[in-house]
């Protein structure tokens, strides 16, 4: 069927041109712009120089934000694994007829806008929010505790955003485990805990690591929780990009920071793919 060889290309043409025109070329523009100069008047001057990158690394101000971003991303990954594994395991082993409902429920936050999920924490942790109201009512405190606008609230916002991704990834890999392996382990005299430790846990690790990568990448690229739930000292690298591009219209420097963020994520995704393979990530989105 040699005459068919043009067909896939015709089918691919619309989506390929969309991605090329709207993603590949624009990202190339970001890279090119990161070498440009910004005139004092605010105009961008085509150039090839590393001044924007030098500016980023010239003192500790920007690198500190980069390091903070990486640290917060690791913290979020850790918290998502801790909070997400057990529920995923629960769905996997649960035999109740409400299992589908439980699963649907954990997906529901996906359907609620990120901005609403983020701002909803103000209702909970604000000075007149749920927690303070409750503590005042039972008389544990006399004046409201100020809980908002720090790294903790930023983490809460991030977990609210990313936990479903983690649960889903872990659940998908747990569902993929051949249940006869567990039965075999039990037959050989393993206790429930041993069977989990020796069979289930190792076999679910691909899902855990896929979830970790996804959560890391998404955390490192987000600016909303620090912007809404964080204080001045909680900015992450995406906040920096937002401020440079939307705030001060400093396109060359904003582009350079974007390239730095992209390189960081690329290095992480590349390393991950090299050793673990990237395809597991996409499985969780395919559903059934």
């Amino acid at each position: 069927m040699k005459s068919d060889s043009w067909k896939p290309w015709a089918l691919l043409a619309p989506s390929m041109s969309a991605v090329f025109l709207l993603l590949v070329i624009p990202v190339c523009f970001v890279i090119v712009y990161s070498f440009w100069l910004r005139a004092p008047s605010g105009a961008d001057i085509p150039a090839f120089q590393f001044g924007n990158y030098a500016k980023f690394f010239e003192d500790f101000f920007y690198p500190k934000i980069l390091i903070r971003t990486i640290r917060i991303a690791f913290e979020t990954v850790f918290l998502c694994v801790v909070m997400g594994y057990i529920p995923a395991y629960f769905f996997y082993r649960s035999t109740t007829r409400y299992k589908q409902v439980f699963l649907l429920l954990i997906m529901l936050p996906f359907w609620v806008s990120f901005i609403i999920r983020t701002m909803s924490w103000i209702n909970i942790m604000g000075d007149t929010g749920l927690i303070n109201h409750f503590l005042l009512k039972i008389g544990l405190i006399e004046t409201p505790i100020s809980m908002l606008y720090n790294e903790f609230t930023v983490l809460m916002g991030l977990i609210m955003y990313l936990l479903p991704f983690m649960v889903l990834n872990i659940y998908v890999s747990l569902e993929g485990i051949d249940k006869s392996l567990l039965e075999a382990a039990r037959c050989m005299g393993c206790t429930e805990w041993q069977a989990f430790r020796e069979v289930t846990l190792p076999l679910s690790l691909p899902g855990v690591s896929a979830g970790c990568l996804l959560v890391f990448v998404l955390t490192a690229g987000t600016y909303l929780p620090p912007m809404i739930l964080g204080g001045p000292g909680n900015d992450m690298i995406a906040n920096l990009i937002f401020k440079r591009v939307i705030g001060t219209l400093d396109w060359p420097f904003g582009s350079a920071i974007s390239v730095i963020l992209l390189s960081l994520l690329f290095a992480i995704v590349w390393t991950y793919n090299r050793y673990l393979g990237i395809n597991q990530i996409f499985k969780s989105f395919q559903g059934d």
Binding site: P8, W9, L11, L12, S15, M16, A18, V19, L22, L23, P26, V27, F29, V30, I86, P87, Y89, F90, F102, I106, L108, W111, V112, S113, F114, I115, I116, R117, S120, I122, N123, G126, T128, G129, L130, N132, H133, I159, L163, P164, E192, V217, L218, G221, T222, Y223, L224, A238, I241, V245, I246, S255, S258, L261, L262, L265, F282, F285, Q286, G287
Partner: protein, 265 residues
């Protein structure tokens, strides 16, 4: 007896606590939207529809809703159409560079939305075009395309090629085969993909904030700009409307598609 063991009870308790953590903030938004007070959050002083009425009278919010609905629908239509074509190419044909191209089309999932936002805006600036509704639309298509592709591909793999071949051997041309065989079998995935891209577009804030203007606001952007002052019952009311809309639509669609689906390959 596993279901009654101590360990299992702890697992169940832990899961319930995680649910409480995830859902309390969302439920509280809905509850507080009935709060008649102007300032502060708790305690609630009764319940009223005051803020919903105020929302309905606010032209800029109605405008944002219209924008969001049109944008989401167009995004869903475009993304799903070109996504189906691409999925057909990847699943039904063999060609050089297939895996690389597939990864390329899925790559927007792994590229931070901030960078997408900056990149597209920069490109537009270079073309000397102002921000417009079209920018939001093409941006949202790029954002949602990978999800449609994943969903449709997954379903298409499960549809046996023999059905299509049978139709062709009976004399149907490529378009007829698609219309009579592939499309009906693919319909659940198409609907799921369309819904998914609608909600992603409807809910998106990170990239949209780069692309939106005062004339082309979406509801999340509106919420963002209202939050500049402080949280208010009005924002909670708007949030509640959004939650109800974006949560019930997929549930309803899922229910309807299960009820009416006649095709179970």
């Amino acid at each position: 007896m596993r279901q009654f063991s101590l360990g299992w009870s702890l697992i169940r308790l832990y899961t319930i606590l995680v649910y409480v953590f995830m859902f309390t903030p969302i439920v509280v938004v809905i509850v507080l939207s009935f709060n008649p007070k102007q300032f502060g959050i708790f305690p609630m002083e009764g319940a009223s529809l005051r803020w919903f009425i105020k929302l309905a009278q606010n032209d800029s919010i109605i405008g944002a809703f219209q924008n969001s609905l049109i944008l989401g629908s167009l995004t869903a239509i475009i993304s799903t159409s070109i996504g189906i074509l691409a999925a057909m190419a990847f699943i039904r044909f063999e060609f050089p560079g297939k895996n690389t191209l597939n990864t390329l089309l899925l790559s927007p999932i792994m590229i931070p939305e901030v960078v997408l936002g900056v990149a597209l805006l920069l490109f537009l600036r270079w073309l000397q075009q102002p921000k417009s509704f079209a920018l939001l639309l093409i941006g949202h298509v790029v954002l949602t395309l990978p999800y449609v592709l994943l969903i449709v591909q997954a379903r298409l793999v499960g549809i046996r090629k023999e059905y299509e071949e049978a139709a062709k051997s009976l004399g149907a041309n490529a378009f007829q085969t698609f219309r009579e065989i592939t499309f009906p079998l693919l319909l659940p995935a198409i609907l799921a993909g369309a819904l998914f891209s609608f909600t992603i577009s409807f809910d998106d804030i990170t990239a949209t904030l780069f692309w939106a203007t005062a004339q082309n606001q979406t509801v999340p952007v509106k919420i963002f700009s209202m939050l500049r002052n402080s949280i208010s019952p009005e924002i909670n009311a708007l949030g509640a409307v959004m939650i109800v809309l974006t949560v019930t639509t997929p549930l309803l669609a899922g229910y309807l598609s299960r009820k009416f689906s006649k095709f179970k390959p």
